[in-house]
């Protein structure tokens, strides 16, 4: 199954740990996972757990505009994209879950 996740809350929110645990479990079960970070969700991009998820094959994209507005620096291996990438994820996946 292809799973898409939108995360719009900042790292101190419980959503972050939920997204990390859900994505990790889904990957371990062989599912494809794509995460899009926007609004304050872009702050999560510097958490080491997200780098670990990317290493495990989770596709992570960040809203470049929201990152620029919040002075969030780019991270290697993670796409600093646009709402087009968000739309592509939503269009490709079997299930899409929004955390915000």
């Amino acid at each position: 199954m292809k799973l898409g996740i939108l995360l719009t809350s900042s790292p101190e929110n419980e959503n972050t740990n939920t997204v990390i645990s859900l994505s990790r479990s889904a990957r371990e079960q062989g599912h494809e996972v794509s995460i899009f970070l926007m609004y304050d969700g872009v702050y999560n991009v510097h958490k080491k757990e997200f780098a670990q998820l990317a290493d495990k094959g989770v596709r992570i994209a960040v809203c470049a505009l929201n990152a620029e507005q919040r002075s969030v620096q780019k991270v290697g291996g993670i796409l600093f994209g646009s709402q087009y990438d968000h739309a592509c994820i939503a269009g490709e996946v079997d299930r899409f879950i929004s955390f915000g």
Binding site: L65, E68, S82, Y84
Partner: protein, 80 residues
């Protein structure tokens, strides 16, 4: 011969940010003929990376990206 009949259209998107940079470019592409060229001016750096990447994904050809000054770029697109 084909190039002689292709038209070039310009679109100024200075002041626009995502997602309008992509949306307005896509809408303009819908107005022109296949093979015609669209030149879009941006002043938002992320758009200069993301709009061409998205358009390539849609099958269009990026003919070039020219930096006009510190914050202005022109992107040349050939409609597929």
């Amino acid at each position: 011969m084909q190039d002689l009949v292709n038209m070039t259209t310009e679109l100024d998107l200075r002041g626009e940010v995502c997602p309008y940079t992509f949306v307005k470019t896509k809408l303009k592409l819908e107005e022109i003929e296949c093979g015609d060229e669209l030149i879009v001016t941006f002043d938002h750096a992320p758009a200069v990376e993301n709009v061409p990447r998205s358009l390539k994904n849609e099958g269009h050809k990026i003919l070039g990206i020219e930096k006009k000054d510190e914050h202005v770029w022109k992107v040349r697109i050939r409609k597929a």
